[in-house]
Amino acid sequence: MTAQPTPEEDPLRPLWRAAQVFRVASFGYAVAVEITSARDYAHPYLSWALVAVEAAWTGVAVVALTLGWHRRAVVAVELALALLLVLSSWVVSPRAFWVTHESLPTTLWCANVVVSFGLLWGPLAGAVVGLVVALAVNLVSSQLTDPPWRDASVPVLVTIGFVLGVLARTATRANDQLRAAVEQRAATEERERLARQVHDGALQVLALVARRQGAVDAELAAMADEQQRALRGYLSQLPAPSPDAPVRAATTHRATLAGTLDVAAALTDLESSAIRVSVPPGPVRLDSHRAEELVAAVHAALHNVAVHAGPEAVAYLLVEDLDEEVVVSVRDDGPGIPQGRLERAAREGRLGVRQSIRGRLAAVGGTAELTTTDGEGTEWELRVPRARGGAR
């Protein structure tokens, strides 16, 4: 079994976790700035109190956002708190200081709320909040008189908000697609499993009825037997072979792994009292296009058996997986083709089915060979090379 990717319950969890690492680091930076600058402040004790508030909030946010508790409320409160802390620069330090320095006591720390908005509400919300916080920072340092883009905060914070928003959207979408794919595959597998069970169950009951009633009511036994054959034919999407029944050259759509088809499973479905199928254990995968052409060619060959080999003839399918190529032989135990008939048909331009089988195989780089002996049936050998890169 190959390892299957499994969808995450919360696809953004890794991003939130990484964001909290940045939060703790940026708080460390804010403390370092506080230590070196506090003596220049007008109110050093107040500034330390505000750093304590920042510390407490950092703790709350790290826990809540990592575990996913009330993220929306936490992020909304944080926006208000971050703006207030940025603006507190006016109170804690003299004007001469704050016009030339980073906003206090937040410094880098104010970028956290921008990150959170991006993750939570997407690129637009991230960019808008980035702009709001950047303008507040500029307002504090009185740079609003200059065009704000002169300062690095605006482009940096807007970009952070936008990029994280895009990242979060992409991660969520990828996870949704993965989840949908996994669900669809599970549903398909379950449907196939149920179909097989119903198939086997119904066939066994019909075989049983045919067996028990044989002595009592021959007519009922014959009907059960007939139904059993009809059910097999129906399930394989191939009408029970009769000389004039048109064969629907449709493939059963058992697309499993992306872009590949299990030829063995598709052909096993054809099994009936008139068609005996031999396959290797396990799936025989070909890329879908090659597989569909091969299965269609097998249907065409079976059609020929039904038309030409007589009602008693049995067709034998053998599927072989030779790594480099997949070989399917279709043999019948009918009377075979008398000498000269093929040549005559070719002269009269009546080689339709044979040409179509050869054409299908040639189209996917394969070959189709017909051997026949008078009185010994006919045998098609259909060979399809595997796709480059080997879809096994």
Binding site: R196, L203, Q204, L208, S278, P280, V314, L318
Partner: protein
């Protein structure tokens, strides 16, 4: 007069057991026991030592492979013929590797069934084209798998040729004519392919038992 061939029917479905038993009795076999699960199959095989066991693949207390192993352990001379639904092919291969001598789909006719039980009792493998395809594929899978100790069994070119023809639905006589050999030779090639597979499987099981300390 020889005694009639004795048969045990293992299936969890009472109606199926009755119907199959009736067909067998009508064909002259002696149905000496029936069983509805792995455990009952093992104890009754030990008590009755049937010539042939007809084995279902899905039992309430285990798989047909488990039951085959236990029946053969309890009664080594018994031959197991697997009777399965068509979608259980891979399970059938496991049962055959565990020692079953052949398999037949459940939808086979009463005549096919009695013929298969008769050949199984005679010591022949009941090699349907489907089983030949599975065994052929299994040898091919082993030949491309990474080398192992002991080395995986391989088919001789002649054995591979015979198996392919069986898988294509040719009867032993037709194969003999095509290859210019006797009917007996074809039979022995077919038997050899199964025996090698079963032997390798036994070696594998024994090694596993030693590694996990189950042999004590």
């Amino acid at each position: 007069m020889t005694d009639p061939t004795t048969v045990m029917v293992v299936d969890d479905h009472p109606m199926w057991r009755d119907a199959v038993s009736r067909d067998l009795e009508a064909a002259g076999f002696a149905v000496v026991a029936t069983a509805d699960g792995v455990t009952t199959a093992a104890t009754r095989a030990a008590a009755t030592r049937p010539d042939v066991v007809l084995m279902d693949m899905q039992l309430p207390d285990g798989t047909g492979t488990d039951a085959t192993l236990r029946v053969l352990a309890a009664s080594p001379d018994t031959r197991v013929l697997v009777l399965s639904a068509s979608s259980e092919r891979d399970d059938v291969l496991e049962a055959v590797k565990a020692g079953a001598s052949g398999y037949l789909v459940k939808t086979a006719s009463a005549a096919e069934l009695t013929a298969a039980v008769r050949s199984t009792a005679d010591g022949q493998a009941v090699f349907t084209p489907g089983l030949a395809g599975l065994v052929l594929g299994e040898y091919r899978r082993m030949s491309t798998a990474p080398p192992s100790t002991p080395p995986a069994p391989v088919l001789t070119p002649r054995e591979a040729e015979v198996l392919r023809l069986v898988a294509k639905g040719l009867a032993a006589k037709q194969i003999a004519t095509r290859l210019g050999v006797s009917h007996r030779t074809v039979e022995s090639h077919v038997q050899a392919t199964l025996r090698k597979l079963q032997l390798a499987n036994r070696v594998e099981l024994t090694r596993y038992a030693i590694e996990t300390g189950l042999d004590e």
